[in-house]
Symmetry: C2
Subunit: 267 residues, 2 copies
């Protein structure tokens, strides 16, 4: 298994927030990132389609790029496709929902947890299940925020439009006296400042990126998978739009100079 | 060619606004609709990807469904893929941009025309070219409105959020004293009321649906293609989400009872 890379994928570039956390946690590992920019978004599409797309991407990463483990950075894909992925492939496969649930449990004091995500993630019930498994008495309040992904993709991270959309989404959660808000979509960490201001200082905002990276670290150690890569990263996407560089920089916090386009539907 | 259906496709269900206009113009024709709901939206993706998707859909409609002519109801696909489609297939292929340009020319009095559309449509320059070909002295002002598609998909056709987004997009066009506004995306006709109110009664709002249907009618007659179908319609999509019925009803104005899912990437 030595020197094999870690694979990570997302519906687009939002998963770069998770990649960044993994690079910080495991700096000597080599990371292969795949963003399904030709078929983004996943959050509004059906479970069948999400599972089919996730299997294609995993085939590419495992068979062609020879990864030793897979991180499903997309919440919607974590919610729907994890079982099918684990059935088809033998390598360790980690989603972002269980780490996100863990982070929420660590943060909450009143056991009232709000989770925001795409329609697909909310519909799946995966967060409710994961949080309740860790703490059966927790009350979990879900809210789908379908306009957040397009707002972030447009770079509208603050301002009056974003605030009025966010307030509409947060209102029912705030009314229920949550003390913890889980950002259940890789795009949402970029809205953290705006969400913080609207939610007020008493509500802790958690995202799964850091917890996913830690969980990955523990997982690899437990499975005895050698941690001795040469660092570095490689980026693949299914569509290369004019906006790629600008968006990648926004999520990763630094520019990506080399990226390759893959016809993912062939896998 | 007798009894062969007319094919029409869009990136999703927005093209049903065009299908509706064609059914009104040519009620005895049979219509086959394909919505690429598994890969929507097109407007933010690259020309290469849009061309590849459009060719796959055309192959399905022409080879499998034996259509006699093809209407590209999606503005982004009309902007980028028309030449490639016409190169690969021999049947008549009609986009929505030329009819939209014609409608704008018929409506304007001061020759200052605003066009709103997706980023892809704006970037392509196709509307500017089409309008200038009809009236070289026209001044065409383009504005990309990337949040309109997600707003319409969410059913947010009016209200404070939609109005503040719309006002931001319209401002630069209104400042330039346009007297005509072209809705250069099949989703936008659903925002017509809101846009009308914000633009004021002096600005004429035109969409390409009616003009496309008329142009199709002329085209078929000119090419001597028999107009004697048995009416009716058939609907195909690449993803069948839980929201399909609600969204289809919104665009078509009546429910769709039967729809079939197609694995379009195989074509």
């Amino acid at each position: 298994m030595k020197h094999q890379p870690i694979g990570i994928f997302d519906s687009g570039l939002g998963g770069l927030t998770v990649a960044k956390a993994i690079q910080k946690e495991l700096p000597s590992e080599t990371l292969i990132y795949f963003g399904d920019t030709a078929r983004i978004p996943y959050g509004t599409k059906s479970p069948d389609t999400i599972i089919r797309y996730s299997l294609q991407i995993a085939r590419f990463l495992i068979k062609k790029e020879k990864i030793k483990c897979l991180v499903v950075a997309c919440n919607t894909a974590s919610a729907w496709a994890l079982n099918d992925l684990r059935r088809e492939f033998q390598i360790p496969i980690l989603g972002v929902i269980e780490p996100g649930a863990q982070a929420a449990i660590d943060a909450t004091r009143n056991n009232r947890i709000g989770v925001i995500g795409t329609e697909g993630t909310v519909e799946s019930g995966a967060y409710v299940e994961a949080i309740r498994r860790l703490r059966p008495k927790a009350k979990v309040l879900m809210k789908a925020c379908p306009l957040f992904v397009p707002l972030v993709e447009e770079g509208k991270l603050s301002g009056s439009v974003t605030e009025s959309v966010a307030l509409e989404y947060l209102k029912p959660l705030l009314k229920e006296k949550i003390d913890t808000l889980v950002l259940g979509c890789t795009h949402y960490p970029l809205l953290k400042k705006t969400l913080s201001r609207l939610a007020g200082s008493k509500i802790r905002i958690v995202d799964s990126a850091t917890e996913t990276a830690k969980s990955l670290h523990r997982n690899l150690e437990m499975q005895g998978i050698e941690l001795s890569g040469r660092g570095g990263s490689k980026y693949f996407v299914s569509d290369l739009s004019r906006k790629f560089k600008e968006q990648a920089q926004r999520f990763l916090g630094r520019p990506i100079h080399r990226v390759e386009k893959v016809f993912i539907e062939k896998y």
